[in-house]
């Protein structure tokens, strides 16, 4: 954004506000999705580095975390450096992560025995500088725990992704509880792109940005990650390539406030 004229008074006020917001919060840069539709909705034009982000699956995927896992892997694939993947149930299939660009050489898995261990390892890893991304699969995530994680991420500048994965469908209501994460995403599967021949086309996801700090909620229909972990806008389906519907957006607001 080009600034027409330097305004010292305004700059001083901005500096004061940022000081009030907290000493540790420095500008860490962002990881853009490479889709203007999504990046335009996020503050600073991408997923903030040095912050905690939450991803959950919609419907059955809240339990299986297959789509949300692949979405997170796609984000992690676009970072630099090693990726730590912490989980209690280890059923990820590494060849699939390689297919979205997250090489097995970069990914270190941590098999924790309980959610408490997951959170402890998550925080420890987020404090450490030099990792590309830290992904953890957790069920319950309390306000306190998420604030600790967020503060840990702010100190190091690491990208933290909490995949919310529950053991029972009824527990998934937990996603309505507030946490300190910077963004919250819900990934639901949509029927894949129809092909002119028999077969399964590229998968499509409904990405719901349920909460974004200093940003607005939005829904996006995208095609699933490609071999480099990038999303793509849906080419057919709706006339407006982006399903930027006001009623859905209002629903998103309601959910975010819940």
């Amino acid at each position: 954004m080009p600034a027409p004229k330097p305004r010292p008074a305004l700059e001083a006020l901005r500096a004061q506000v940022s000081r009030l917001e907290g000493q540790g919060r420095r500008r860490r840069g962002v990881l853009p999705f490479g889709m203007p539709e999504i990046d335009g909705r996020l503050p600073d034009g991408g997923l903030a580095l040095g912050a905690l982000h939450e991803v959950a699956g919609g419907g059955h995927d809240a339990l299986n975390a297959a789509a949300s896992g692949l979405f997170s892997a796609g984000i992690a694939a676009r970072t630099r450096g090693k990726v730590l993947w912490i989980a209690t149930r280890q059923d990820l299939y590494a060849p699939a992560l390689q297919q979205v660009g997250l090489s097995a050489r970069r990914t270190i898995y941590v098999a924790a025995s309980s959610d408490v261990d997951v959170l402890a390892c998550f925080e420890e890893a987020l404090r450490r500088q030099g990792l590309g991304a830290v992904v953890a699969e957790v069920g319950r995530l309390s306000m306190t725990a998420s604030r600790r994680l967020q503060l840990a991420a702010e100190t190091s500048g690491a990208l933290g992704i909490a995949i919310r994965r529950w053991r029972r469908q009824t527990d998934a209501a937990d996603f309505g509880q507030p946490t300190a994460s910077v963004t919250r995403w819900r990934v639901s599967v949509l029927p894949s792109v129809p092909l002119p021949v028999p077969g399964v086309g590229r998968s499509r996801w409904l990405l719901e940005l349920i909460r974004a700090r200093a940003g607005e909620c939005a829904d996006f229909e995208v095609e699933a990650c490609d071999a480099k972990g990038r999303l793509a806008p849906c080419r057919l389906a709706l006339p407006a390539t982006l399903a930027d519907r006001p009623d859905q957006e209002a629903a998103g607001h309601r959910r975010a406030r819940a």
Binding site: Y109, V189, S192, V200
Partner: protein, 464 residues
């Protein structure tokens, strides 16, 4: 063949027989490659054990012996005969067939242990010369070409060789013959250069008053680690395993052990690793002595850093790995590495988190599911045989109609793994249901032949 065991000796095999000939005679022979370095290392370890048990001056006598200076040590073990008997029987318990001899000189003992008639030979002081005159000249530790030359002269025993005039022998074979003879007969001294046990780096601290508070323990850990690191620096080593022993006033010992993935000599890191474990210590009535030992140390290899101008150096995360490993266990940290197998569950294996990279990747021609179930779950389906995907399937009580599908991808059993997989076949389909969820299902069998599998359907993985 360099060496044969007792069973092979009974079959009539001797060292020196060509391997091909031995195999022709006995096809089921077990043949192992010679490992001279491993043998030498084993001898070193065994010498250290002897040094610990028998006498302080011990040295390996490659390729197959150990020499000990037992002067003044035999009476501690009940006399020379008992001591030798003891050593040989202990080695036998460990699976080593040994022969032993005691003589006035290294050379004589060497000769008698290898070429003596008895398994255990004792030569009283002063009778060495008589004991070795009858032995073959191979016992003299001479190079093979000199032995051949002496045989050419018609000399085969030590006695006649010792009686020959020295000057022509030295002129023809060099000084070795005379030197070895003198060493064997005790006319020339021969020193044993003993192996030296390198004690692990260890620092300790005694307390006048027992300590028990966690903060106090932490403070003394921070005081113990720097001298330990200084000791390691002198040896150019780093810690792989660190033991902290806390002796309590009630004579019990608490122990904390931390391990690292790479050799480490960083004071802060080691302090941190130890302090993380303080909560596992039960101080009881107090701790009066703390001992910190680098029980496993390895040399730190220095390497040149990557030039920042050309490529960015990847951050070193080994300290994080250590911290996490000490929390969840070393086994719980791993990477996946490719294995050349078409059977999906065999295509991945776990390797240590910091294992060297081999650059292999999985082939990329077929989509693979994000989540692979730990074991395939049976599903009920309706499908047209032999090669159509199911029309619907029921998994975990939910019926799903298939909207579209890809497949089959046929995976054959790995017949080299076992007879059970000789004919088995799996046909994998990627199916998408009406809601858009995508699954990886397979049928055991090719849909036509009963011997290829039960033709049952299983769900093996979940795409997005």
């Amino acid at each position: 063949m360099l060496s044969v065991d007792l069973a092979a000796r009974r079959l009539g095999l001797r060292p020196g027989t060509p391997v091909a000939k031995a195999q022709a005679l006995h096809p089921d022979l077990l043949i192992m490659d010679a490992d001279p370095d491993g043998d030498r290392a084993g001898l070193e370890r065994l010498s250290l054990w002897f040094q610990h048990r028998i006498a302080p001056i011990v040295a390996p006598d490659p390729p197959d012996g150990i020499v000990l200076d037992t002067t003044g040590a035999d009476h501690l073990h009940g006399g020379e005969a008992v001591m030798l008997e003891n050593m040989v029987s202990r080695l036998k318990e460990a699976g080593i067939t040994a022969r032993a001899a005691i003589a006035d000189t290294w050379g004589a003992a060497h000769a008698l242990a290898r070429y003596g008639r008895e398994r255990i030979t004792l030569v009283p002081p002063g009778e060495t010369a008589a004991a070795i005159t009858d032995l073959p000249i191979e016992a003299l530790r001479l190079p093979a070409d000199i032995i051949d030359g002496l045989h050419g002269l018609g000399v085969s025993r030590i006695g006649p060789l010792a009686g020959m005039p020295r000057a022509p022998l030295t002129l023809r074979f060099g000084p070795d013959v005379a030197r070895r003879l003198d060493q064997a007969f005790g006319r020339q001294a021969e020193a044993i250069v003993p192996v030296r046990l390198q004690a692990p780096v260890q620092v300790s601290r005694n307390f006048a008053e027992p300590i028990s508070a966690a903060e106090t323990i932490a403070r003394y850990i921070t005081k113990l680690v720097p001298p330990l690191c200084a000791g390691l620096e002198e040896r150019e080593q780093g810690v792989r395993r660190l033991d902290l022993l806390l002796h309590r006033v009630d004579s019990r010992t608490e122990a904390v052990r931390v391990a690292t993935a790479m050799p480490v000599r960083d004071v802060r890191r080691l302090t941190r690793l130890l302090c993380d474990r303080i909560e596992t210590i039960d101080p009881g009535f107090g701790i009066e002595r703390m001992v910190l030992t680098a029980s496993l140390a390895e040399p730190i290899l220095h390497r040149q850093g990557v030039s920042a101008l050309i490529e960015e150096e990847e951050a070193d995360v080994s300290d994080l790995i250590d911290t996490l490993a000490n929390r969840v266990g070393t086994q719980a940290l791993y990477r996946f590495a490719p294995v050349e197998s078409d059977v999906p569950e065999r295509a991945v294996c776990r390797v240590p988190a910091l294992a060297p990279e081999d650059g292999k990747e999985w082939p990329d021609h077929w989509p693979r599911p994000t989540r692979l179930l730990p074991r395939p779950e049976p599903i009920q389906t309706m499908a047209v045989l032999p090669d159509h995907p199911p029309i619907f399937f029921i998994w975990r009580g939910i019926r799903r109609r298939i909207r579209c599908a890809d497949g089959p991808e046929r995976v054959f059993g790995e017949w080299w793994k076992g007879d059970a997989e000789l004919t088995t076949v799996r046909d994998y389909f990627r199916v998408e249901d009406t809601s858009g969820e995508t699954f990886w299902v397979y049928r055991t069998g090719d849909g036509e032949h009963g011997e290829t599998g039960s033709q049952g359907w299983f769900l093996h993985g979940l795409f997005e």
